[in-house]
Symmetry: C2
């Protein structure tokens, strides 16, 4: 308990929960870490595909980036409307379910759950790559470093969200500031003709420059959009008026995101950079732009920190979504409980475990994880926007036609992107997500089905309550007379009614002694002696219980087990084999209650 | 249960147990498999050491074997006296403990437990080597084959010892017969000058021929004596007069053992054979003597079978010794219980597990296991013989001086051998055994110490029994009203006295509904509502229990937990998190009894 307190912190009261509101600059930092951090890898992912068609194809990255920035604009306009329509938080699950129905809602929920896990895995992997780019000696330890990061995030989030705001503002601004500097200095050098490093040797083409390849490059770049919806989920965390503040912050975020992404793509183009195995593209750009000095290392640190914060966003989102699903009985009910400190502990632990698993399976490699990533994100974008379209058709309201068109544009744009993503990335890993989504939906429905059936079986509607509580027969197996036995006997005696001690006769001599002892200590409780031709204890005892149960149908049968509880764990190996066997044998017998009466041995 | 019956067979009654007596020829086969089977590897182990000093040193094997056969004679004479003195079975533990005291008894017991495990591992490894010598393709699968053999032995012994006698006679006689034939034919060919295969190329020396090397070779050969004591442990299994029959059988066994061992050593010498990695020496001898025909394969099969039977001997000895130790409280008391079918299931399972572990660690290699083997065996020989010396000094009786001298000779001879073994094999693995023995003794004493303290704490001598059973307060935590809750409530109601339902208020609306439901279903049981500012369920509930406990010192507090038991295992993930938490929190509270009232959900 003390350890838990120290690791997780003091719990918050319900009253305190309401006051965790964030000012816009802090909220921008908290909610932007996820979308902004994706510029750390998006340009690189585009170039990684284009380079297959040789160095000459790399300039297509500019066009692709412009299309993606266009998508950013469309989605920002689209999500600002969600912010106003759902001031209590409009996640894709809520919006899709309430407007499109349960099935689309569950598709969005499944896609989101997968994406939360991938956000953690991808961001941590990319964050570690920022470090190993600056310190190549750590390259071989990237899985271990990633697991460490996930462990820290998981524990930190079990402590709760309170501190988050304060701490989180710093790295986001560090990243935006230093990356802005890199881009300004870099573009300045290009404009004013400061001589650049000699360009890298050109790479030969291994594939033709097909439309499919360009679409694949576009799909890879779409990772820049991941996390753009975060603000619309977190509206209640803003200060009043929540929707206005959130919408303003959304614009800021989109503007920063667009500038950084486009700036990086341009610089990579002007510098003629090509992705490498050992160093991230953003690290190459920063090194070329700033030289290898202190500023460069600061920039890498900031990149790592914002990526870890991006991972942290999922630690808020995943348990929140899980608790919404649990409230609808699509996930186990215990996930609906707020844990101590307002964090949903079950969800946090699950998220950490799955992300760690992904990191291990994909050996901490960002590029290998990326193809799994964006499909689910865009699927939930599409469902969320489509839900908004239905929302306007349904509710109408002032200027609804214009709003509908904006969301429709968003839905169509992201819908097309989803199809492109699924097709171009299918064989690279997207198939995993496409298979997982229906499996998760099946699981959701199976769980709700169970809860429904259980509720029906537990319902009191048709229950015929007996007029008086049923009678209870108490049976206590004993193998001798000592303190545990006598204490358990006295416990059983106060339960009143029909009590019997049962002794299994395996040795006539001992049985005679037992009978004598019982005369002294039995307090008038009858002692039943069971013969045991096979010297087995369990079988005659169980047969006896069966007999009692048959004689008294509809009544309770309580088995009182005297149990020695030793003070040290290993001493348990020396006791209690028999109670364990009895409990295992009786677990599935209806109307049989097993009661342990423990006796705690002292330390010596 | 049915599966257990099918795998393990029907239990035997106490009455049946007495009739498992064996006729001498059958008893010879049953008890000789362990000692006789060791000739399958003893000669090879001698040569493996001698060959380090080159081919020229191999002829020392004859001298060494003659010394070992001398030891066989001394030990046979010595153990025949044990057979008469302990007709109920004179194992080293019993003899050493009753004559020399507890500490030597425990040393013998520790040595014996280790040796039982090693007998299984060594015999199975050598048995598999017999097969892989004949079928070299199986060489790479020897660990898997060994584990299979151990699994079969373990299951077979859980079925019980009854069938043993019948089945076991066959392979022992197969082995003795075919090995006798090999030796007779082989020696015949040597005597009558039938041309032999061309001798193998001579091996150069890598070590000098020192006294230490000769002693090491002797130590390796001492494995031929392992198991020689088995008959003296099993006297009660013979027909009346038990001691006379056992003593006669002992002579037969020793004569066969000596002839086979000496014959093999001579043949290896005459044939100029050298141990090889792929084929056992005994297989080389049989192949040279008989040619590669059917008889050779029969011989290999017989070797394998007798070695597996030798391993089986431990399955009788280990659980029997464990039960003796458990009766003296040196091992967990549950090991003292006879399982079904008179076999001691716990011991059998432990033995199988440890032997399998050894086989895996040493990769099924007989030579690697041998150095661990004989030290413990000879240590227990020495203690047993020394115990007999004390026995005669103490009891005297007719001709006791002569008897004392015989046992003294045995004790001195095996004592010297033990020291030689420990010294020459120390670095090759004997150190493991020499470290393990004191650890086991510490464990024995620690266990008995626990049982003594527990018995003292549980004793009724100083117990002041309350004049009437203490009163009981029944507390039932509820989170709503349904069938489980009402059934558990009605169970709690018949426990009489002071009953309270406890509800934790996390949502005022739900609490109001709860109160209304309780008016209808509560049957007059008071409903306690606990506030929970942190929305936690567990902490207010535990605090309430603490309060009740303080108000009613010395009384019982029973917590009745309504518990849903689903019909499928995975459905447990959807229920009962709360009862689990409550139980974990209450496990160590004295005078608190937790009672689950289960409600079984049906299948659907």
């Amino acid at each position: 308990m003390l350890l838990k307190r120290w690791l997780i912190g003091r719990p918050l009261t319900t009253a305190q929960a309401g006051h965790q509101r964030l000012a816009n600059p802090v909220a921008l930092a908290v909610f932007s870490s996820d979308p902004l951090s994706s510029v750390a890898y998006a340009t690189e992912e585009i170039l990684l595909v284009l380079v297959l068609a040789g160095t000459a194809a790399l300039h297509y990255s500019i066009g692709i980036s412009i299309v993606i920035v266009g998508l950013v604009a469309i989605l920002t306009a689209s999500y600002r409307q969600t912010i106003y329509a759902y001031p209590s938080g409009g996640g894709a699950y809520v919006v899709a379910k309430s407007n499109l129905g349960e099935a689309p809602g569950l598709v969005a929920a499944a896609a989101l759950l997968i994406d939360y896990v991938l956000t953690v895995a991808v961001s941590v992997a990319a964050g570690i790559a920022a470090i190993t780019s600056a310190v190549p000696e750590l390259h071989d330890h990237r899985v271990a470093l990633g697991l460490l990061a996930i462990a820290v995030l998981t524990l930190g989030n079990l402590r709760g969200v309170r501190e988050s705001g304060r701490i989180f503002a710093v790295p986001t601004y560090m990243f935006v500031g230093s990356l802005g500097l890199v881009i300004l200095v870099g573009l300045g050098r290009v404009l004013f003709g400061v001589p650049l490093e000699p360009p890298l040797p050109s790479v030969p083409a291994v594939e033709g420059l097909t439309l499919f390849l360009l679409l694949r490059a576009f799909s890879s770049g779409c990772t820049a959009l991941t996390g753009i919806e975060v603000i619309s989920n977190g509206v209640p965390a803003f200060r009043d008026p929540v929707s206005k503040n959130a919408a303003t912050t959304m614009i800021w975020m989109a503007a920063i995101l667009g500038s950084l992404f486009l700036g990086l793509t341009l610089l990579a183009h002007f510098y003629g950079l090509v992705p490498s195995e050992e160093e991230t593209l953003i690290s190459q750009i920063a090194r070329t732009s700033l030289g290898g000095g202190v500023l460069y290392y600061f920039m890498q640190l900031a990149t790592m920190l914002i990526l870890i914060l991006a991972a942290n966003t999922s630690y808020n989102g995943f348990p929140r979504l899980a608790s919404l699903l649990a409230r609808d009985s699509f996930l186990p009910h215990q996930m609906r409980n707020f844990g101590d400190r307002l964090a949903f502990s079950n969800g946090i632990l699950l998220l950490g475990a799955f992300a760690a698993l992904l990191l291990i399976v994909f050996r901490g490699d960002t590029h290998a994880l990326i193809p799994l990533y964006a499909v689910g994100v865009f699927l939930s974008f599409t469902l969320s926007q489509a839900g908004m379209v239905e929302h306007w058709r349904d509710r109408k309201g002032r200027g609804w036609r214009k709003k509908l068109v904006i969301n429709l544009t968003g839905a169509v744009a992201t819908g097309v992107a989803t199809v492109v993503l699924a097709m171009t990335k299918f064989t690279h890993g997207a198939w995993v997500v496409i298979i997982l989504i229906p499996i998760l939906i099946l699981m959701f429905r199976k769980i709700r089905w169970h809860y429904r059936i259980a509720a029906w079986q537990l319902s009191l509607d048709m229950y015929e309550r007996p007029p008086a509580p049923p009678r209870n027969t108490v049976v206590m197996p004993i193998s001798g007379v000592n303190r545990v036995v006598i204490i358990a006997l006295d416990y059983a005696r106060q339960m009143g009614q029909d009590i019997r001690a049962v002794y299994v006769d395996v040795d006539p001599e001992e049985t005679t002694r037992m009978k004598k002892d019982w005369e002294r200590w039995g307090a008038g409780v009858p002692l039943v002696i069971l013969p045991s031709p096979y010297r087995s204890f369990l079988e005659p005892f169980l047969a006896y219980l069966e007999e009692v149960r048959k004689q008294k149908p509809g009544e309770w049968l309580t088995v009182v087990l005297p149990e020695v509880l030793p003070a040290r764990w290993w001493e348990n190996l020396l006791h209690n084999q028999r109670p364990l066997l009895i409990k295992a044998a009786l677990l599935f017998k209806p109307r049989v209650i097993v009661t342990d009466v423990p006796y705690h041995l002292g330390l010596y």
